[in-house]
Amino acid sequence: MFSIATYFSVEALLLLLVTVALYVCLPQKARRYVLLISSYVFFFSISGKLLVFLLFSTLSVHHIGLWLSDVQNECSIRTKGLEREERKALNAEYNKKQRKIMAFACILHIGLLLLLKYTPFFSQNINALFGLLGLQLRIPVPKFLIPIGISFYTLQAVAYLFDVYRKKIPADRNLLRLALFMSFFPQIMEGPICRYSDTAEALYEAPKMHYGNFVLGSQRMLFGLMKKLVIADRLNLLIQNVYGEPNKYDGFVIALGAVGYTFQLYADFSGTMDLVIGTAQMFGIKLPENFKRPFFSATISEFWKRWHITLGTWFKDYIFFPVSMSKPMKKLTTKARKKLGNRYGPLIAGSVSLFCVWFCNGLWHGAGWNYIFFGMYHFVLILSGNIIEPVVIKITQKLKINRSAFPYRCVQIVRTFILVCFGEMFFRQESLKQGFKMFGKIFTDFTFKTLKDGLLFEFGMDRQDYLIIIVSAVLLFIIGILQEKGIEIRASIAKRNIAVQFAVYYALILFIVVFGAYGAGYVPLDPIYAGF
């Protein structure tokens, strides 16, 4: 009977309460087990028997880590006291062995992810290809049940192994610590994607719960709940209608849907992150941030340093640099630099790596051409941004425009926001063909007639709904500006006297209770990123 659909459910709240109660009452050594058991209960209540996949990954990561470590130890023992040449030869031999182990590990973990997530997509496309070639041959399209969070914990597992391989961290002999790192319940479903060096130790230590952390954590959870219930869920009907039957609407409504979806995605994902990071904070565990006011970004590449940050840095550390620093790429860079100069020289190797990153990024989100297109869209934007940057600098210098001035930055921010919205529109629209149609409509069929005839209030949101969305957006905007200025809002509230604190919390709770889009007439939004 105990099943959890999202973090925003009564069942999840109950589990959290029980976990907190046990965590507070039990001594330190038992607390880590409380966290682990809660994590497995959480996982099991969503994915049931598919828990074996997580257990399998945990065991295999543990084993392979130790295996790598054994090889490394053996190498360092055998190379001790050897001559330089001999040492080098032996090192190379052992490196080869390690690389083989890593290849095996990647095939195992990423292979499993690919198999579960992408086989249906690939087999469908192969069948389509057969059809095009006029062949009668068809391969079966399997449908797998996918364990929750596999896209997230697989990346954590691979990162751990690479870090051991690169000797950034020692392999962990303690299975419990690794298991906790892989499964910690607040983050298992939608990230943030953590590094072993960030969280494993803290989770294992299971620090004492502090009143201060408890308050700050609950504040953040409440704020996340607000984003999800008031904004993301309220926009749901509008988004479903616009993306469900885009042909019915004109360019204005579609543009509204594009902006609306971007805002919904932000409210949903960053709201969930507030809940996740807030929960972890209650236990005294600091998870990495996933968002830093992304809509204040001046460029697309800045946007990706502020939106889903942990995914971006994962791709940078484990795809971008390994590819661009590989031997052939380095050779290419050296050659290209001589011919094209320092500005465009590294761009060739850079763009190859960038392509790999964005192809993987698109595919990671799901098996679908829309996601691949989404990746390619951002690849092209970032690459062209890099190519034209010197030109832009020259032009602005000639026109005597101050690039760091406020108005210029505002223009950049608006431009970036628009580009992001287009990207998310393709991202949301499962059919790429429809996506292009919608894109075209924004430019060819743009009228304000739905505003005049009041039809705007007919497909999912009424006047009051729009009003609340706007009020919430302004609220987030103000909070965003304060945060950009480095003001720690939550901490400064917690410092005020108890009456002020109560007033703020009550106001926020009542705001959620009254203006949350739940109950009759509203369909809650499934957590978007849990599906990836």
Binding site: R166, E302, D317, S324, K330, T334, N342, P346, L347
Partner: protein
């Protein structure tokens, strides 16, 4: 500190004061492409190989840290 290193850095981004800045990566003053350039230049100039393991913020956040890495790698090799 080595003059050659500072020259390389200034060549890549003339707007930054590399002698004092210690947040090159954290404040996004060196982007990924600059790092590719930087690594290629350093490898050529100092005749070393920088493995991927070394491409971490801690090594690239300041000119000083970079220099530490360079000296370490040239000794190891």
């Amino acid at each position: 500190m080595d003059e050659r290193l500072l020259e390389i850095l200034e060549d890549i981004n003339p707007e930054v004061d590399f002698e004092s800045c210690t947040t090159l990566i954290d404040d996004h003053l060196l982007d990924s492409l600059s790092i590719i350039s930087l690594v290629a230049e350093i490898e050529e100039e100092f005749d070393i190989t920088i493995p991927t393991v070394e491409i971490i913020p801690e090594n690239f956040n300041s000119a000083e840290k970079l220099w530490e890495m360079i000296t370490r790698l040239s000794e190891e090799d």
